[in-house]
């Protein structure tokens, strides 16, 4: 028996090692979704509604997992990125349209991430004229000089820093029973403000760049079909962690700011507002979390764009490439960082307008991406036995239709607001 036991543990260990080797893209893509905008949204949700919207996080996380899983599956089975597949199946016109929206949406979100970095570092007294060039060079250096393995490990390490939010959440010392009660028996209201927050929450969690990044990273990593089950675990773990972190952000602001009736509009405001209520440490942790989240996304977004474009137009791509081997790929990456950090250093840049625009473009792009994704993932010629099962299709169509409705609703409300 002892021998059998040892063999079993060995096999399990091997499996665990395979999982560790395959793990990465799902975790990184998920966490990159909790970017500067995401943290701002969750902070606002907590401050305004307390624990009133925590229940929605569960739906959010499931939806994210469903969508990300399809991206990952396409990447593993076809060995091609989303840009590749769109080009090969839908031709030049559709590709150009999708890619134009993609570039624009990502560029504006990238600017938002650098804004997040600048704001977080200013809380620590670092002026943006110093922080922007320094951070831009670091972000640039990591991908241009690093190889895939190093970059991935770096990004996984950054993803772990998100756990500071868990500490922030605990430091707030929430009434756990009340939290549980509100998750199980939420008091859903039908007023405009509540619904708008709900819609924004979904919009901020599921964004096209996450799917592009996930699929391309899996291809660049070279995950094999036999390893797919581990990739799926990676994707689910990543989605879970994304929801888990969001949960603690809402908890932190919901416990402290909400009862005090403090309204916040940005993540850095939330960090500042936490200081008198939850202490210096909690406030600083919150700021570090914002810095880290913005930094991760400021790296992933330009990367996702470079991957997508290189795939669509047939340029060489991959983190392992040098500038000479893949000039367009690394060129796009560089350009995005320069613009992203550059805009922040322009005095009086209309950041609010840029964010608004980015939300709008993402709102248009996401439905398009999801519909294309569903058509691709059900293409027998492409996916073979890995097409969606009937049950999977029902779940995904419901998810996708709901997300699309919410995206359209968000578009409509943002226009009404604007």
């Amino acid at each position: 028996m002892a021998v059998l036991e040892r063999i079993r543990s060995f096999i399990e260990r091997r499996r665990f090692l395979t999982f560790l080797a395959v793990m990465g893209p799902g975790l990184i893509a998920g966490n990159a979704g909790n970017d500067a905008g995401g943290i701002a949204t969750y902070s606002i949700v907590g401050a305004r509604e307390g624990y009133g919207l925590l229940w929605a996080l569960i739906l959010n996380t499931v939806a994210l997992a469903v969508v990300q899983e399809m991206s990952a599956r396409m990447g593993v089975v076809t060995g091609k990125g989303f840009g590749d597949l769109v080009r090969e199946r839908f031709g030049v016109r559709v590709t150009l349209l999708v890619m134009s929206l993609f570039i624009f949406a990502n560029l504006t979100v990238t600017i938002a991430e650098f804004a997040g970095i600048a704001a977080a570092l200013e809380l620590f007294g670092v002026h943006r004229y110093i922080s922007m060039p320094v951070v831009a060079i670091i972000v640039w250096f990591v991908v241009v000089k690093g190889n895939f393995k190093q970059v991935e490990r770096f990004l996984i390490a950054i993803s772990m820093v998100y756990l500071t939010y868990v500490v922030s959440g605990f430091l707030a010392n929430p009434p756990w029973l009340e939290v549980a009660r509100q998750i199980v028996m939420p008091r859903i209201r039908m007023d405009g403000g509540y619904i708008l927050l709900f819609i924004t929450m979904v919009g901020t969690t599921i964004t096209p760049y996450m799917q592009f990044y996930l699929q391309s990273a899996i291809v660049d990593k070279g995950v094999r079909v036999e390893e797919y089950k581990y990739t799926r675990m990676d994707v689910y773990a990543g989605s879970f962690m994304t929801g888990f972190i969001a949960f603690f952000i809402i908890l932190a602001t919901g416990t402290t700011l909400h009862p005090a009736g403090i309204e916040v509009h940005t993540a850095e405001e939330a960090a500042q507002a936490l200081r008198p209520l939850a202490g210096e440490f909690a406030s600083q942790l919150f700021a570090i979390g914002l810095l880290n989240a913005s930094f991760l996304a400021a790296l992933v977004l330009p990367l996702a764009t470079a991957y997508g474009l290189a795939e669509a137009f047939g340029w060489e791509s991959g983190i392992n490439r040098t500038f000479r081997e893949a000039p367009q790929f690394l060129g796009i990456y560089t350009l995005f960082i320069v613009i992203g950090a550059g805009v922040i250093t322009i005095p009086g840049a209309p950041l609010i307008k840029i964010m608004f625009l980015s939300q709008t473009v993402n709102g248009v792009l996401l439905p398009a991406v999801l519909v294309i994704m569903l058509r691709l993932v059900n293409d027998k010629e492409l996916m073979g036995e890995y097409v969606n099962s009937r049950r999977m299709n029902i779940i995904t169509w419901i998810t996708v239709v709901v997300i699309i409705l919410l995206a359209v609703a968000m578009l409509a409300t943002s226009f009404l607001d604007g």
Binding site: T78, G79, V92, R93, K145, F148, R224, G314, E316
Partner: protein, 421 residues
């Protein structure tokens, strides 16, 4: 026989209306089928879509085919809808927007447009457009693009790859490019080829690998990462796999086999030629990161009492099968090294000299179980191109060449040469 434009791009005829004998519109051009041909694949028919109906028209029935008019020798109401057979290769469905290998530039590119031209009376596929111009043409913006470029005093470049310089990777289309471009693919440097193989998807990889001759396949395989090598070998038929393994130097073959499941490896070894199989089997018994695991069993060894002239004759015979010919080891009857000669020593010596008189002694050797770092240090210390490996009885068993250890000596960042998938 059809009258056709002497040259045009397929994007210029896509979705153009197709007329019948009386000038009535049948439908729009949906696709163009091609069939294998020498030296270029020829157009074999048109696929026309009209509402829900699909008509497949053989090329012989086409009357006019150019940018302005496409017409066929038939009457609209006589046509019977028929879908093209699944095995047909179609330009728009199977080739446009797909990836191909640009053999000249040794990289993967995307097909933006395809060029047709008159070759000895048939309309053939002659080149792929991979440039910006092709994309603009697809969008109907070629002229505007030219004007924009001329504003900056630049010319919108033509980027065409001739049929002979491209290799399809889509499994279906790969068959079409096989015969003509096979030699061209083989002329690519194995490292470039390996890079491309590592970039395409696994289905395409099988197609591309299948198009290579055994020798080229072996060289390209050698450039890939061990785990990828094992993957590829695993996907092949056993016969082809064993043929390729035979072509590889025994140490490389042993590396690949070492990464396969034991049963599979044994099976392949059994299928290999006896001599190669024995070499590989022997190497497999050594630990991977020791001198024994790194060495190759192919080296040059001569007895001490032959003349330089005879040695050179022998060298000519054996050299093709041996990885490194820069060192000639002089061994006694028991295969124990007693001296060594460089190729230079041999060539500069007088033909009647005996090897034992000009050889250098003693020979520096390393044991089978020496660690890879020790091997590297040894080679670096004595400035060698290869290190002789001996067993406990001082019998020469193989040599480790410098290219097998250079990887360990490189800093990790520049070690990404071997392509992962």
């Amino acid at each position: 026989m059809p009258f056709f434009a002497s040259e045009l791009f397929v994007s210029e005829v896509y979705r153009k209306p197709v007329l019948d004998q009386t000038g009535e519109v049948i439908g729009r051009l949906r696709d163009i089928t091609v069939s294998m041909g020498e030296p270029y694949p020829a157009i074999s028919g048109l696929v026309i879509a009209s509402g829900r109906n699909i008509y497949t028209i053989p090329w012989e029935s086409v009357n006019l085919f150019n940018r302005r008019v496409i017409s066929i020798n038939a009457l609209r109401h006589n046509l019977v809808p028929s879908s093209p057979s699944a095995s047909y290769i179609m330009i728009f469905r199977d080739m446009l927007d797909k990836q191909i290998v640009d053999i000249d530039g040794a990289k993967l590119v995307r097909v933006n447009d395809l060029r047709l031209a008159d070759v000895k009376g048939s309309l053939c596929l002659v080149a792929a457009d991979i440039g910006l111009r092709g994309i603009l043409r697809r969008l109907g913006l070629e002229a505007q693009g030219e004007r924009l470029f001329s504003l900056f005093r630049m010319k919108l470049p033509h980027k065409l790859i001739g049929w002979h310089y491209l290799q399809a990777v889509e499994p279906k289309v790969a068959r079409l490019t096989l015969t003509v471009s096979r030699q061209k693919v083989s002329q690519m440097h194995p490292a470039d080829l390996a890079e491309i193989i590592s970039e395409v998807s696994s289905k395409e990889r099988a197609a591309l690998f299948g198009s290579l001759d055994v020798e080229t396949a072996a060289e390209a395989l050698h450039e890939l990462e061990p785990s990828v090598q094992a993957d590829i070998i695993d996907d092949m038929t056993r016969e082809r796999a064993s043929d390729i393994l035979e072509q590889m130097p025994p140490d490389e073959a042993a590396d690949v086999l070492g990464d396969l499941p034991k049963e599979k490896a044994d099976e392949l070894i059994k299928l290999m030629e006896k001599e190669e199989a024995e070499d590989v089997q022997e190497l497999l018994e050594h630990e991977e990161d020791t001198a024994g695991g790194l060495m190759t069993t192919e080296y040059l060894a001569f007895p001490p009492d032959i003349t330089v002239e005879d040695a050179i004759k022998e060298l000519r015979l054996e050299a093709p099968d041996v990885e490194t010919i820069y060192y000639l080891y002089v061994v006694d009857d028991n295969e124990r090294p007693v001296g060594v000669l460089s190729l230079k020593n041999l060539i500069l010596a007088r033909p009647p000299d005996m090897l034992k008189d000009i050889m250098k002694t003693p020979v520096k050797t390393i044991p089978l179980d020496a660690d890879k770092d020790d091997v590297a240090e040894f080679i670096s210390k004595y400035n060698l191109l290869a290190a002789p490996v001996v067993d406990e009885n001082n019998v020469l068993r193989g040599i480790v060449t410098v290219d097998d250890v250079v990887d360990f000596l490189m800093p990790p960042a520049s070690r990404k040469k071997r392509r992962r998938l």
